[in-house]
Symmetry: D2
Subunit: 416 residues, 4 copies
Amino acid sequence: MAAKVTAMARETILLHGHIIDSLLLPKVLDLILQFGGMFELADIRIGKTRQETSSARIIVTADSPEKLSEILAEVQAHGATIEAPSDCAWQPAPADGVLPADFYATTNLPTEVRLRSRWVAVSGIEMDLGIRLDLDNPDRPPAAMVPMAEVRKGDPIVVGRDGIRVIPVERPAKLDVFGFMESVVSPERPHRHVIADVARRMQALRDGAGKVLMAGGPAIIHGGGRDALTWLIESGFIHVLFCGNALAAHDMEAHLYGTSLGFRLESGSTARHGHEHHLRTINRIRTIGSIEEAVRSGVITSGIMAACVRQQVNVVMAGTIRDDGPLPGVITDSIKAQAAMRAAVQGVGLAVLVASTLHAVATGNLLPASVPTVCVDINPAVPTKLADRGSFQAASVVMDAASFLREVAVELGWKK
Amino acid sequence: MAAKVTAMARETILLHGHIIDSLLLPKVLDLILQFGGMFELADIRIGKTRQETSSARIIVTADSPEKLSEILAEVQAHGATIEAPSDCAWQPAPADGVLPADFYATTNLPTEVRLRSRWVAVSGIEMDLGIRLDLDNPDRPPAAMVPMAEVRKGDPIVVGRDGIRVIPVERPAKLDVFGFMESVVSPERPHRHVIADVARRMQALRDGAGKVLMAGGPAIIHGGGRDALTWLIESGFIHVLFCGNALAAHDMEAHLYGTSLGFRLESGSTARHGHEHHLRTINRIRTIGSIEEAVRSGVITSGIMAACVRQQVNVVMAGTIRDDGPLPGVITDSIKAQAAMRAAVQGVGLAVLVASTLHAVATGNLLPASVPTVCVDINPAVPTKLADRGSFQAASVVMDAASFLREVAVELGWKK
Amino acid sequence: MAAKVTAMARETILLHGHIIDSLLLPKVLDLILQFGGMFELADIRIGKTRQETSSARIIVTADSPEKLSEILAEVQAHGATIEAPSDCAWQPAPADGVLPADFYATTNLPTEVRLRSRWVAVSGIEMDLGIRLDLDNPDRPPAAMVPMAEVRKGDPIVVGRDGIRVIPVERPAKLDVFGFMESVVSPERPHRHVIADVARRMQALRDGAGKVLMAGGPAIIHGGGRDALTWLIESGFIHVLFCGNALAAHDMEAHLYGTSLGFRLESGSTARHGHEHHLRTINRIRTIGSIEEAVRSGVITSGIMAACVRQQVNVVMAGTIRDDGPLPGVITDSIKAQAAMRAAVQGVGLAVLVASTLHAVATGNLLPASVPTVCVDINPAVPTKLADRGSFQAASVVMDAASFLREVAVELGWKK
Amino acid sequence: MAAKVTAMARETILLHGHIIDSLLLPKVLDLILQFGGMFELADIRIGKTRQETSSARIIVTADSPEKLSEILAEVQAHGATIEAPSDCAWQPAPADGVLPADFYATTNLPTEVRLRSRWVAVSGIEMDLGIRLDLDNPDRPPAAMVPMAEVRKGDPIVVGRDGIRVIPVERPAKLDVFGFMESVVSPERPHRHVIADVARRMQALRDGAGKVLMAGGPAIIHGGGRDALTWLIESGFIHVLFCGNALAAHDMEAHLYGTSLGFRLESGSTARHGHEHHLRTINRIRTIGSIEEAVRSGVITSGIMAACVRQQVNVVMAGTIRDDGPLPGVITDSIKAQAAMRAAVQGVGLAVLVASTLHAVATGNLLPASVPTVCVDINPAVPTKLADRGSFQAASVVMDAASFLREVAVELGWKK
């Protein structure tokens, strides 16, 4: 028996924060058992109020060092720290665009690495990246998340799981829709309060010089949400717009021809040669040279793109293989488009993802978990897909894009 | 060869009406070929304007009387008539609730039967019924559609396809959304104009003492459409309401508890014991004895059911196996509920089917094709299902119920 | 201050079982805080293995007896018991079909009531019912769940929340798909293992004389799953079938005409007068008098209904307002149909709900949480709806009904 | 009156082909009226059999040349030709990537332009492009469709609508699922026959050295269709594969880790750190340098990508902004990816678009209407979207990708 005990691997882990109401403690205990370990609750202090934090000290044992390290790796991903941790380890990137085999893959949670026995925050929070160290340059963050494609040969990349910890997002003190993230996506849930919360946050961000990001698909135009979104932009509620060629083309088609995808927006009937309208629109803008010039020269005077030019909204248009044209300004290379989007999400305080699976998932991938995010789609599978890919912070609304935008705009004072 | 020619069966059919723009002529010619026949265009006159009708006389031949009769049966269903037709044939119903084997199955189009060498309109237009004759009683319609379950032994029931014709629904002179029935259900079509058309028709029907039917599901309440629908009813725009136990229960739950299916309508959060609210609501109304009494006695003072009682809306509540309770007034027998719905659709000038697959299909089954119908659902499969079952006259809107009702109400003057 | 303390209401609650891995403990602590109370962990013992149970003794305080009783009510619903509880209270039902205002509303979890200082199991577990006591008749269960509509004036009905406890469903020792109930419904999850688990359970239940319930909609026929389901029935894998008029009618239409809803099942093309086929089928069976007789007399020899008759499957067909006919045997009254379904679910060891929102929700309402349930639908909203209504035990598969049935059948040895 | 007549603009148009059963004639007549013109049927000859073609000579009049030219433009798009047409007109492209303002926008139908008084076929049929002439080089086609982005300044581009005609796709002699293109997308239609037809065509194309194109999304892997698709490729049934980074990454993740998006394909349960698996897979392939080398060197030995390498399938992987990595071989520039796809569709005899909205629409945009196409998705909105964008030739199947592929493979002889 004694021999067995000495053969056991053992480590002490610490949990602190809102480990009870965030369900962390039982989750961690369960994981230990699930992966074949055992635990002893060395110490547990449970906060008596919502404000007080709780903490637990847990001794974990397993019958092999390999199993223990598996368990530690697992629980660490949930915010457990190992007592007296070592510095994080790193290896040089073996080639341009390639991470070391054992690279640490990031989450969208705030993350710290242990460098020279101190915890250091990693900058540029984004899921599914590596962590690059830059120890010698005091002007740059010592640790930053880096996309695989941007790694250069020799870059010091964090590997393994030691000396790394992630900080769970705390439940906000003042509860709103993003605090009560109902996990189930359902068209049967009331959504008025989500609209009200989104409007409230947009108002607060405008007042406080914060930034709102909208990512949208062309159904905004097809379904009749163009006026409302234009008003939101003109009124200063939107500061960053992610879209594709289609939204911009159909927006300007609506100005030039009164149609979207060839359907008359007023009557819903098919316009003569309507299927050509978006092509002629794109060709016209290509002739002029840019959307900005088309707006400045008075060719495009109404709608979303005109409002964006006037309000100096940061528009990132990303290309796809289904594009006609595309319009000038569309970034056809997806890696370059990602980089532009990554730059544009800095400082965003609310993300509203409307009627575009592609942009919703792509934007969700880029956003830290701390950014309140709402995903609006008529198809409940889209918010589910977002959650499947790790964007758990997103509240979801199952409704059509145009109605959503109209109701948000009315909430903020739009007189249609 | 000659023998073969003489063996050919031959019949002359007539087509008239808007056979060009309704695509009837080519459809009929194609059917003749498709079922192995041949045709000769004996005469064709094509209207030179939209108002003028066209007509065609077509000699149909087939190599057996059986095949010919198949072809005639087929084209007759599309409005072709056989020259100099015989009277319709009939047989007595063999038992209560049973039609003769060869009974004529009705469509939802205006239909005439030939009796004593005269065409007589069949009353009570509804798809999938039989036709019962009543020749001896001058006070009653000589021919009426009859549900299978209501047939009594010995009733004279029309059989075969001779002496029967259906009249295609004409394209309306003034085109609106119901004139341009776009066949494809798509969330990508603009729907503002449908909302505008629905509102316009509701206004006209109220002004002209016509009737509007709404059939709705509980998602109206869950999604936040209760206020808007209440306003529409209070303002006299709705005259018949088809719903189930759930819509009524959650409407009154909203009054008594501020929740729907246990979610707080204002905040979207889960109420304590919220799942019990609809049960307690139902039990309370059962204690009182009826919804009418609950409204009159001041227990229920707001919402859809209160508005219906005050405005004397004809409410038909049909039961299903998923009901709790049910509420007093719910017709638990489906055949009796159908009969009540059948009586209530008489004189309806617009049908609005919102967020209930069951009620949309059931109501679609009962309505003549001449009643403009709009089907609103967040799931595009529901309008498709309606069309699959023969309700081709329905315009469809893919959006959430609450937004639809709110936008219709605003269009009609609602100040929310 | 002291006065305030003495004014505090206080009660001790007990939690035991798998309160850590089932997340009960933190849930309960959080609820106490959420509803304005405070707690002290008087005692906590955490099991060191998955087999060992844990327990906690928690002192709950609140600043008014009302608030405390709210909190106790809340946590009791999660399995917390109050130390030294009193007997449950009851009141006589005030009228036929009406429960006392304060009736206890049941969940689908095993439930006990305290009678004469002993915990007594309540029979007939089903959500959203009342509990009727029957203390004087030793032949009947002393406490049983009762639907509102079946209550008779004067029946003793349990009221309040004292002396009642629910037992959480335990995680099964051998994990399968029903143990890992992934909460999120997603078409992006693999479903092969669910199919394999369903097949394995069907095999085990057949071998062990257990019962499998299938509830299905007509899309089984339309989509091409008729052969597979027939084989499953013929092979003895299905013992109870819940369906509506449509599934039975289209199944027999397929036998008589080779079509379903008028589409040829072999070619997918529209059959001539195909829309009449289901009507003629229904009329024919009505002529014969019953499905059983149609099978016995050789009119219907293939398909689902024939297999059910031959294998003596307990078929409950419930009517709805969208039914044509209906077929003999359809229970048109929804309350009677519920009663028949309630009787039929007794002893069921697996419920498979396929392609019918109505039957899925209705059956989910009737089943105890302990019955493994799988909900299959091409529309992810259906399993979500089931979960919204409290049937959390259901695993979900987003796929078409026909493919699901074919794959289950192949897994069990079907050679198509 | 006479003055009015002389003021009328007048032109004679010709229609020929299957103008009756293709509904062309009434469509054209209706359009003339709809756009304010009048017509006289100068001559009409209707084919007496399905093989015989029909023809019509129609005199069109309108009260202004502008209106007439509108009408002619409209009916010409439906295949009507103007008697004694002039040559087509052209203008030089005003700049690189820009078409003349009045450019003719192509459809996906076979198209001819009139050059030097002769009709000349336009090569490279694809919708939404321009037509570039090349009269002086006998080695190149005199007229070819050209994407906007590939136009060079000065290229002669066809403008207006004179001297251009499109040839409607004829109904195939032997009817199969692609001949009976049912317009309505419905999950309630049987799909066994579509699967059978797809299998039959795949067999015929393999036997006849034709080419099958598959475009697919990652749900193929998530849902369990990897084995079936691998078998189809290994057996020589697939010759061109369009996909994105995700399908390839999850396919190889399945080989290396047994998971897809972190879910274990065998058990459906979450794998430890499963969300990192696709990242590690991508990084590993980037380390190796290419998918081909990963297969050749034995790192990847099973699955779709391995089969493609072995069978020399023409794989085009297109990048999007939601990609991690991406994998080597992914074309990140969307215009370059389109060009690669455009080259790869040449000679394709069947297109199967599975579970990818983006790839389905993008591929639909590139394909001539004459290529039989089937679109498979669990969401009925996807085939609808395809039809909304002009890909009317596509048959649709609403089912999950994995089941579809498994059933096609079984039909072709797969023993799973």
